[in-house]
Symmetry: C2
Subunit: 273 residues, 2 copies
Amino acid sequence: MTTTVAPPHPFDAAVDLESITPGLSTGHTSTAYNNMVGPFGGITSATLLASVQRHPECLGEPLSLTVNFAGPIAEGQFEITARPVRTNRTTQHWWIELAQNGTVATTATAVFGLRRDTWDSTEIEMPAVPAAEDVPAQPFPEFIAWAQNYEMRFIEGAIPDLESGEHPDSVSTLWVRDSPPRALDFFSLTSLCDVFFPRVFLRRGKMAPAGTVSLTIYFHADAAALARQSDRSVLGTARTQRFGNGYFDQSAELWGSDGELLATTHQLVYFKD
Amino acid sequence: MTTTVAPPHPFDAAVDLESITPGLSTGHTSTAYNNMVGPFGGITSATLLASVQRHPECLGEPLSLTVNFAGPIAEGQFEITARPVRTNRTTQHWWIELAQNGTVATTATAVFGLRRDTWDSTEIEMPAVPAAEDVPAQPFPEFIAWAQNYEMRFIEGAIPDLESGEHPDSVSTLWVRDSPPRALDFFSLTSLCDVFFPRVFLRRGKMAPAGTVSLTIYFHADAAALARQSDRSVLGTARTQRFGNGYFDQSAELWGSDGELLATTHQLVYFKD
């Protein structure tokens, strides 16, 4: 009898960790998810979340995550330390640190918890857009490796090319999912929260050095909502509020294909003129 | 010769810290800034920021701050540990912990840095509102101590009273400043980012248990912008994107009286029906 094992999805390979002790694990960068310099922030954030969710003491599901990109991550191995700073009856607070050779490259805090049924109301509206299958997929330039792992169907605000001039606003709206398709989980949702390339590229119509400094995600979806979504495209929409003095913020919403708000996310980004 | 010293502004007394070692300081809760249970989150956040800004190794000005409210803070003394996790040429990443009797109550991360002159653009617009002096100040219920230290002039979405029913949305817009007036600095701006009472109170027209779980601030103002603002009222506007499963998010913008965007801020809040 022979057993054939399918190779893992590239995303799962990228967020894979080896547990050394309950609070310490090792992982490695994945060239498939590289950005122009170092790994794509989405994959780093997903890996940090995974270090908590795979911890034996982890309570419930992710409620919020903040990742601070403190310095570059070099190709190769890294160590992640995840520590439950405080565990309450229904919530748990985590401190997470990613280091290489003893130097901290990324820090994060996460709040996990148990959700309860309550009154609910979604106050914002999903943008009115055509169905995903009616929007052509649009490839990213090949030198942006991570983007090759996503199927992106832009309704507005695609990545600029050499002919693009200044854009009147910084709004991008797109259908997006993993390529090849993969059922949504908290890790891939985390990564999707960072697919919105730096808004300054769009607004100014050109690429220039830019990088996320701090990223925050509020998870509105629970595991059941993720299961309902499965591997269908998610609608993402992002925009900046203010650019200036070398930094800008950007905020985004991720919607399930049935109109359920899955996550809201915000980041502060460094940029050079 | 006698010297009379004016008592400090209640805000300065509340964020005052005693330095024990460069990374360790002690402070104490201030009844003037109490919330219904424990201290007002804004004053705690400002105190955590102060622990970094008063650290001898602190580089530049605050760029972002995330505060996680992990557990209750009891009346009395607390210890704050602030550690520069990584210092780069122009940015510095901090880890901050507030504890009482060895138990962590609050955690935070902050990014500080040097700002540079760059291209700038504010993409969102300040709400069109009457001048602060044309909007009556509206007192908060007396049992909300912290609010007595702010002069709030609501244009829309004032705190509900016993006669309030459900509100169609969760938007509050108000002119706000310290009472008595105090020149704006990064500490008071931080605290102002949390003056937007839980949006669920407004939306449902009643108060019920609710508390911030995680708060993030992106500082757009530099010290010069704060000096231009001085002690005039700041315009704040806040709203929720989604309520459900025991949590909701809320986002807000703080504008200087001359229309300069000073900060954008987001939080995840726990609530009970």
